[in-house]
Symmetry: C2
Subunit: 382 residues, 2 copies
């Protein structure tokens, strides 16, 4: 199923629009919280669903991301399929996307051949071979609205040879994924453009991926150790060659400055563990930057994290209480801080959409850079 993007407004290369997926049409640009093993860490699905309000300044979360690597091992894609697929299994009836598992498998230093990547399970040490065909088969069993091709994702910096080889193998695997897919009526398959930070390789990879023809296009292999000023030209190089009426997804990037820079370059979709991972360490996202709630000064603070935030945490709990929960390692700290960070991220995406519509994205980008330029592009898919 082709993921149609209807552009409603633009500001330079940035665009806001509506993306049609199997389970519904969602607003872009969008940020997907990461539900690696079928749940956003520390936040039950129904609480993610309750974030935001289509009529207010904080839009709802419309797409969740789950991870093929983890779900193929636990509980197994067949178990998820037996319960009616990913949506019914985890209680989320809005669109979902599954990562192919390539990123996780490559972090395990697998034995890679043309056939696929052989690795050992982090759960029980059992041996597995993930091939482009198997990644498709598993993701068709999981049944997300969007599945991703299995790609080769080298760390950065890597030698030219390694990055070039990743582009070649990713292209070969992409063709095999296309040939293997069966579920076309209610599932989209996205190709992944590799190429490191070499703009000519990115261009070549983009051309070859578009030539194969996918329902949407992702940029992979970024936010893996490089500087932001190395990442952005690679995005520019690829985006210039991608179709305008299909979505462009920058995988694993979620720091606020990189998001707005990427939107400014025409990216529509993001995912990142950053909001929830930071939350588990008591680091909160605010309009004034990161706030470390564990600082001693907050012990007696009656203030909420943010007086204007509509999240359940800011509605009720003083900083002093949240600091305590984080300090004594109470599990509800992770839930409350994650709810805030996901809400902040949704509100941030809402501000970006509004800025594109009003032609003020550059001004917002400058404000954001002032607050966030100190932080690294962060990210990492988990």
């Amino acid at each position: 199923m082709r993921a149609e993007l209807t552009v409603e407004a633009t500001d330079g290369a940035a665009r806001v629009g509506r993306l049609r997926l199997a389970r519904g049409t969602v607003a872009t640009p969008l940020f997907m919280p990461v539900a690696t093993r079928g749940t956003v860490r520390a936040v039950p699905t129904h609480d993610v669903e309750a974030i935001g309000d289509a009529a207010g300044p904080v839009p709802p979360v419309e797409v969740l991301l789950a991870n093929t690597y983890h779900l193929m091992l636990r509980p197994g894609a067949d178990a998820v399929a037996a319960l009616g697929g990913l949506h019914r299994w985890c209680g989320w009836d809005r669109p979902m996307l599954t990562d192919s598992g390539g990123y996780q498998v490559f972090s395990l230093e697998p034995k890679v051949t043309d056939e696929g990547a052989a690795f050992r399970s982090t759960y029980d040490g059992s041996a597995h071979l993930l091939t482009p065909e198997l990644a498709v088969e598993i993701q068709e069993q999981l049944g997300a609205d969007v599945q991703m091709v299995l790609d080769v994702c080298p760390p950065l910096p890597s030698s030219d040879h390694v990055v070039r080889a990743a582009v070649e193998r990713t292209a070969a695997w992409a063709a095999r994924a296309l040939a293997a897919r069966r579920r076309v009526e209610d599932q989209s398959l996205f190709g992944i453009v590799q190429g490191g930070v070499d703009v000519s390789l990115r261009r070549e990879a983009a051309e070859r991926t578009v030539e194969l023809g996918f329902d949407g296009y992702a940029l992979g292999g970024l936010s893996v150790g490089e500087r932001r000023d190395e990442m952005l030209p690679a995005i520019d190089a690829a985006v210039a060659l991608l179709p305008t009426d299909q979505p462009r997804y920058l995988m694993g990037v979620g720091d606020p400055l990189s998001i707005i820079e990427a939107v400014s370059r025409g990216i529509d979709m993001f995912d990142c563990v950053l909001p929830t991972r930071l939350a588990r360490h008591g680091t909160l996202l605010t309009d004034a930057g990161r706030l470390n709630i564990t600082r001693a000064e907050f012990i007696r603070s009656e203030e909420p994290i943010s007086a204007t935030c509509p999240c359940p945490t800011c509605a009720r709990y003083p900083r002093g209480y949240l600091r305590h929960l984080v300090s004594v390692d109470e599990q509800s700290a992770a839930t409350l801080c994650s709810l805030h960070n996901l809400t902040w991220m949704s509100g941030y995406i809402g501000r970006i959409r509004a800025a594109v519509r009003s032609g003020t994205l550059r001004a917002l980008r400058d404000d954001v850079a002032e607050v966030w330029s100190g932080s690294d592009p962060g990210g990492a898919r988990v």
Copy 2:
């Protein structure tokens, strides 16, 4: 402030009624979820507040219990007081009760003298002396609706000498707590009856505690290793001597059979970590008994835990999904299972109240015994 109990119906020694506390009047019998360090473990306060419905079969949770021992060490009672007291600090505006900390301190094998109990903090090893006066002072800073006297709580079995000494020292400390208290306008102070499973000592302890005169009465030192058939006569012995127009609180007891046996003997209040502790291990409370969600047979189960339960977990998530979350140790498993168990416990209390009103408590007790007689009295305050 005297905790007035208005009895509305009785069935034998059992009674249902309305208990007037500083923050409001609540229905009895009641079960208090344990929010040891200011939060029910894995369940944010606003989620506990959302449990049940005054008009439906599952009544809401009306009283939360927090722990003096933990809060005096982290974040310190002065920090809680600086934020306006326990209720505002943890976001709960219904009544609360604070345990005195005696149970926890005695589990640390403190050096006990007539003055108090000297112990080392489990957080940082620092030395502390908890006296009856300090327990009052701390609890007045915390500002719960109900505070408890510092008592001496021996394990069972203990020698007659140890149990007798605990009764004597508890009585002496109770008198000092009464003399030390200042906050009488919006806080009740409950005495604690010790005496192990020796009915004559229980009687003596009850008489002496009532003679001192408290706003309500608790039975302590039960559910600490003895059998249920040893515990129940001790309850009978004490309850017979307690005022009828004040609440009777059986500390730390929370297994379903012990609760209904104790209600049948005239107990009004309970607290226990059982629902949330079991939940964290994937053990769910159901009308048919305990259900261990980690069993392999549930991997592909589409059923909810209970088709009739109104909790958010049963409304949305299949057993197969919950089993997965528990198996891979996702934090949201604890939240979802705890929400169910707390809802089940609230519904169980609702059934007990209805049975007292309709004079059918004995029949309900027999049904409950059939399902739950295999389980131990469980409990433990944490």
